[in-house]
Amino acid sequence: MRLRRAKKWLPGLLLLSPSIVAIGLFVYGLIFWNTRVALSGKHDEVSGYGFDKGRNFVDLWHQPSWPGAVKHALLFTAVFVVGALVLGAFLAFLMDKGVRGEASFRVVYLFPMAVSFIASGVVWRWLMNPAPPERAVGFNQLFDKLHLGALANDWWQDPDWGMAAMALPAIWQMSGYVMALYLAGFRSVPEELREAARVDGASEWKVYRYVVFPQLRPVTLAALIILGHISLKVFDLIMAIAGKQIIAYVPAVATYVEIFDRHDPANGATIASYLLVAVAVLVVPYLVWTVRRERPR
C-alpha cells in the first residue's frame, strides 16, 4: 500500500531532486550567505563575520557614490521599461495588422536579443560619442552630416540625464522580445470578439483600446516584471559602455567595485541585498497574483 503510494510521488521527486538540491544550495544557500556577510562587519579580508546590527544598510547611504548609483538605476529603469514596452507593443500592433513578410520582420526585431550586451555595448559606445562636430563620430556625426546638428548631444555623458541615453541600447535589444510577447497575446484574442466589436460599429482603434488591450494585462505585467528585474540588475551593458566610471555608476557595478576593487565584502553584500529586495518588490506580488489566479482552476 505504502509502496504503491510511493510509486506515485517517488519518481517525480527523484527527477526533481537534483534541481531542488542545486537551487537550495546555489540560490537560497547563497542568499543566506550573502545576507550574513551583509549583516557582518567584514569590511576587509582580515575582519571576522561578527554581527553588525545591520549598520551597513544605513551607512551605505553615506557613501559618496551610492545615492548617484540609486538615482542612475531608477532613471535607467524608468526609461528602459517604458521605452521597451511602448516600442514592443507598437511593433506587435504593426505586425498584427498584417505586414507582408511578417516572419522576416519578426526575425529582424528579435535578433538584437541574441547579441550579448557586452558586444552591442561596445558598438553603442562608439555610436553615442559626444565629441564636438570637428571630431564627431557615431550619431553626432550622422546628425551633423544630415544638417541636424541641433540634435547632437552628450548622450550618456550628460551629468543629469545620461542614464536615459544609456537605456537606448537596452530598449533596442529588448523591444523585440516584448514584441514577441505582445504578438502572442494579440493572436490569442479570438477573432470573434473583434468582429463582434466591429459589427457594433467600433473603429479599429477602439477595437484595440477596449477589446484587445484589456485582455493583454497579464502579458503587460509579465513583460514589466521581466524588464524591470533585468534593468535593476543591469551590469554588462554599463561595463561595456562606461566601465566603472562614476558617471554611469549603478548598484550592480557598485557591488563589483566594493568586493573586488575596494576589498570590502560586507558593503558589496549589502548592495546585493538591496538589489534582491528591489527585485523581490517587483516579483513577489506578481507571483502571489499568478498563484491566486491559477488556484480556482
Binding site: D44, V46, P130, D154, Q245, I246, R262
Partner: protein, 435 residues
Amino acid sequence: MRVRAPRRRWTVFAAVAMTGALALSGCGANEDSGSGDDRSKVEVFSWWTGPGEADGLAAMQADFEKKNPGTKFVNAAIAGGSGTQAKAVLASRLQNRKPPDSFQGHAGAELLDYIKAGQIEPLDDFFKQNNLKSVYPQQLLDQITYKGHLYSVPVNIHRSNVLWYNPGVLKEAGVSGAPKSVAEFVTALKAVKDRTKKVPLSLGAQWTADHLLENVLLGDLGTDAYNALWKPGADWGAPAVTKALDDFAEIMRYTTLEAASTDWQGAAKAVVDGEAAFNIMGDWAYGYFTGSAPNGLGKKLDTDFKYAAAPGTDGTYLWLSDSFTLPKGAPHKAGAQAWLKEVSSKEGQDLFNPKKGSIPARKDADKSLYTGYLQYAFEQWNNPGTKLAGSFWHGVNANNKWHTDIDTAVGLFLQNKDAGKLQQGLVSAAKNSGL
C-alpha cells in the same frame, strides 16, 4: 528491451565517466598540496597578455627554463588591462587557499590587503640570500617596505610623470616648448585653446583623470610634500592641497569633452595624430606610439611627438613597478623562489624590459639596450640626484580602499567640477583608508 538497452549502456558510461572525473580531481588535489621544496613546476600568475609584455614574459620564461631545466613553467596569465579581471580571479583563488606559486602585483600599498590577510610571505630572507638589497635603489626599497618587511620583487619600473606633446601644435599655438611648472602649463593650455582649433589636453576615461591628479599634486606640492600625503595622519585639508586642486580644476577645463568614451590609448593617440597638444600619461604610451601596427601607431619621436617631465616634476621619478610575490602555501615553493630569482636577475630584467617598454628596477642593468625615450628613463632612474615618489593610482602608496575612494571623489568631481568637494572627498578618503 531492445529499445532500452542503449540507454542503460549510456548510463553506465556516464557513471564511469563521473567516477573517473572524481578520481582524477582527487589526484589533482593530492598533487597540488605538494611540499615546500617542490621545484617540479612553477605556476606564474600575471596579466601580461598584451603585445610587448607577453613577449617580455616569454623571453624571461625561456631564460628561466634554460637555467632551471627540472622546473616546468606554467603561464597562468589572464587577459585584461591593468589586471582588473586577473585580480578578481586571484582574489577567489587566494580565498580558497589555492594560490598560484607566484603572482604579479604592483609593488607597494596595493599588496597591503594580501599582506594583512596573511596571503603572501615576507621576502627579507630571499633579498638577503641573493644580495638584492644593494642592487635596487635604496629609495625604492624604502618606499615598498611595510613595517620593516619586503613582500615583493620588482622586475620593472614605469614612469607616471611624462608629458607627451605634439611639437607642431605647440608651434601653431606659439608655445616655445614643454612647460616647466603647473602655472606655465595652464598658460600653454590657454594659448592652445585661444590660437588653435586643437584640444589643449587630451584625456581619457575616469582613471586617466586620477593619473592626471597625481601628476598635478606632485607638480604643485613638490616631492617631499607629495610623499608626506600618503603617511598616516597626513593633512589633505592643507591650503597647499587646495591650491593644487584648484589648478587641477583649471587644467580640467582644457580637456576633451568626450573623455569618458575614450581610454588612454585614444587620448594619447590624439597627440601623435595632431588633434591635441598635450597628454599626461605613463611611459607605456611610448611603446604604443612607436610600435608597429597593429598594436602600435608607428610614429617617430621628435617629429610626431616629444616628451618631457610632467610640469613641475623634473628631477622626480613618479614611479610604479610590477613585482612578483610568494603566496603563503604556494604549492611549489622552491619553484617560486627560482622564479623570483629570475625576476630579480640582471639577465631576466634586461630580457623583459626592452620588450615591455619599461626599464629595469635594478641599478646595474645594461644601458645600451635602452634607446629613445627609454634611454632618458634609464638615466633618470639611475641618476643618484633623482628623487622618487610613488604613483598612488598605480598601486604604490594607497591601499585598495583609499585608491577606490579617491577614484570615486575624482569621478564625482568630473560631474560637479567642484574643487572644494573634491578636497572634502580626498580628506575623508584618507581618513577611511585604515592605514
